[in-house]
């Protein structure tokens, strides 16, 4: 998109490509089966974020595939309003915004165009590369990201308002699946959000699902999967290879609980109406989040919930929303940040994306 100055308003210089353009030329915005709109998201950052956070941003983008813009390019001059304007025509429903202050990084999840914004403080995070490094056998099959992830929320039963908002928000970010028609082979990833009532922290994890046929001895299974000719030196007969009771790994005990009966064939080894075990392996970023603020508008508007009380309304001062007229401006208490005024001034200040002060 070219930058045009049109009455002081700048179109965003945003270049996006959906990764699925090769496979699916057009991603529908409405799910043909459920009739609901497929939620699409933008993951981007406000302000300058350091290297590790950039990696996290990339990982989050991958996580949200395929309904996100993988190659979203943002300029420093792009403001929230620019993103909003682009989001409308493209049918983007959610924004995930990363930012960093001196204290810690923050993640904001917002619904466009005027939905509520949840602000999470990221206590700890690890990128996908870190996680893969810590594993002995990192697995990432090629087509892992062609389907969107499932989401599992646990521990959110307390039922008070902010938590309810959180649950609904996260449910809505991921497209719903129709149990009757979904293909199990397309459920390959899962995002887990576990709420810890004591520390009020939400663990965010991302796993890949793998199905393994159960009841098959380890050697045969490996042989079938890896196509490696086994070593038959010490055996007298092939029947020994097949029937010999191999030692069971400790994870096999866990598998008992995790067995499912598949309704259809998945891959070569898992057959329908045969028991298979569900094995998860962690891929993708890890985060520990804490909900600190809920705002009614898109990064603006009335503060519905604030973790640390209300010491005045601090917040990253972004431009006003389209139709939100709640009237409460965001001001910086410490005066360190600066206000972005998008009301038609020609020259925007690139350094206007100041730091967010929440403490």
């Amino acid at each position: 998109m070219r930058k045009k100055k049109h009455g002081g308003f700048r179109r965003p210089f945003v270049v996006k490509t959906n990764t699925n353009t090769k496979q699916q030329p057009h991603l529908s915005s409405v799910d043909p089966i459920t009739g609901k709109k497929i939620p699409k998201s933008f993951v981007f950052s406000r302000g300058k974020i350091p290297g590790p956070l950039k990696q996290l941003q990339m990982d989050l983008r991958k996580l949200m595939l395929p309904y996100t813009a993988l190659n979203l390019k943002e300029k420093r001059r792009n403001n929230l309003k620019d993103f909003l304007n682009v989001a409308g025509p493209m049918g983007v429903t959610h924004f995930l915004i990363l930012s960093k202050t001196a204290t810690s990084p923050y993640l904001r999840v917002a619904t466009t165009p005027q939905g509520p914004t949840l602000t999470f403080k990221i206590h700890e995070y690890s990128s996908a590369a870190d996680v893969a490094k810590s594993q002995l056998h990192p697995r990432c099959p090629k087509d892992l990201f062609t389907n969107s992830a499932l989401v599992v929320l646990s521990g959110f039963v307390s039922g008070d308002l902010p938590l309810q908002l959180t649950t609904s928000m996260f449910q809505n970010i991921f497209p719903t699946i129709d149990v009757k028609t979904v293909k199990l082979s397309s459920c390959q990833r899962i995002v887990l959000l576990n709420y810890n009532k004591d520390t009020k922290e939400i663990d965010f994890r991302h796993y890949s699902i793998r199905l393994q046929p159960v009841g098959v001895s380890r050697r045969i299974r490996k042989f079938v999967q890896n196509h490696q000719v086994p070593d038959l030196r010490n055996l007298q007969d092939v029947s020994d290879f097949v029937t010999k009771a191999g030692y069971g790994s400790e994870s096999e005990a866990d598998e008992e609980a995790a067995t499912v009966t598949l309704s259809s064939d998945i891959g070569r080894v898992n057959r329908a109406s045969m028991k298979s075990a569900v094995k998860l392996q962690e891929i993708g970023p890890r985060m520990t989040l804490q909900l600190v603020k809920v705002e009614k508008g898109l990064c603006s508007g009335e503060v519905l919930f604030s973790e640390f009380g209300k010491p005045g309304e601090k917040g990253k001062s972004d431009d006003e929303n389209d139709g939100d007229s709640e009237g409460s401006e965001d001001q910086d208490q410490d005066g360190n940040g600066s206000e972005d005024d998008e009301d038609g001034e020609g020259e925007d200040d690139e350094d206007g994306e100041g730091d967010e002060e929440l403490d």
């Binding site: 009739g35 810690s104 700890e124 599992v152």
Partner: protein, 330 residues
């Protein structure tokens, strides 16, 4: 003949002088072909001797003497002899040509002789200063050179002369060192700030992670079982046939409720996602979306058009995903 000789001499000597004055290096060899336009002149023995002696004793430094000597040839030679007799004695025994050449060569190194001249002059008080033999000059030069080399063996690269400059440079280096240190510290601070919160998991399977893994697994297992039930129940039936469609609906509803009845009482409330599905099932509408009655007609704005516009948060909570703008894109 004598006149011609004199002519030649007069012509030759200025030539010599010219050479001597300017370069002081070259000397015509004795047996040089006569210059152009001149006949070969017979030189008698006496003159020959004289010439030879001159060649032998030739020293470029004696130019002034030569000039004076030009007037009376015989007398000058005597004078020459008188002056140089001491220094030249050892060389007389040598071959004339050789001697001359040596002296010539020695004079060719006039530049070098300047070093040794003084010393040579000082050494031989008797001998006129500046007049040296070639070998002595070489030796003297060697000595002088060695002295210089031995003197200036200092480890400091700047040399003995530039000690003041040395201090300046040392200061500058110290300054740069300090600057670098502060910069390094600042960078480290910056990096630390950037890395805040970034945790690299050292060990993969800590108990907490295992717990989370099990929770996720349970969720997936539940989902798969539900899918399984739904789909196997449906296998024999075809949704497009009306009779079967009703059958399907019945079964799926029952299956769902039974399936979902279980998790809602467990500690892990993983029923959150399934709620969205139950909403849909309760619609009692055909499975395919366009066949539904309210396909694309329901939106938040239309539903609550008679109520207050900003109803609050509860609306957002209750609905599945209706808060998008109603720009219908097919």
């Amino acid at each position: 003949m004598a006149e011609e000789m004199q002519l030649q001499e007069s012509r030759g000597l200025p030539r010599k002088r010219k050479f001597a004055k300017k370069q002081g290096h070259k000397k015509k060899p004795k047996t040089m072909p006569p210059p152009h336009g001149q006949k070969k002149v017979k030189i008698d023995k006496k003159m020959k001797k004289l010439f030879r002696k001159r060649a032998r004793e030739y020293n470029s430094d004696d130019d002034e003497d030569e000039e004076e000597n030009e007037a009376t040839v015989p007398t000058t030679t005597n004078k020459h002899n008188g002056e140089e007799i001491d220094s030249e004695e050892p060389s007389e025994g040598e071959d004339n040509a050789e001697g001359g050449r040596k002296r010539w060569n020695k004079n060719a190194t006039d530049g070098h002789n300047e070093f040794s001249e003084d010393e040579g002059g000082e050494e031989d008080g008797v001998v006129q200063p500046g007049i040296m033999k070639f070998t002595e000059g070489v030796r003297a030069f060697k000595l002088a050179f060695k002295n210089i080399i031995n003197k200036s063996v200092s480890e400091d690269s700047l040399g003995p002369i530039l000690s003041g400059h040395k201090k300046l440079i040392a200061d500058k280096l110290a300054e740069e060192e300090a600057e670098r240190e502060t910069k390094g510290e600042a960078k480290k601070e910056k990096q630390k700030l950037a890395e805040k919160g970034h945790v690299k998991p050292a060990n993969y399977l800590v108990p907490h992670e295992k717990f989370l893994l099990s929770v996720a697994t349970k969720g997936v297992v539940k989902l798969f079982n539900a899918v399984n039930k739904a789909q196997t129940a449906q296998k024999g039936l075809d949704p497009s046939r009306n009779k079967d469609a009703k059958e399907i609906k019945k079964r799926t509803k029952a299956a769902f409720f039974s399936e979902l009845g279980k998790p809602s009482f467990t500690a892990t409330g993983t029923s959150a996602k399934a709620n969205a599905l139950t909403n849909k099932v309760e619609d009692e509408q055909p499975a395919w979306a366009p066949l539904q009655d309210n396909y694309m007609l329901t939106s938040s704005k239309l539903k609550n058009w008679d109520k207050m516009p900003d109803k609050g948060v509860s609306d957002d909570v209750g609905r599945a995903s209706e808060d998008s703008d109603s720009s219908d894109e097919d």
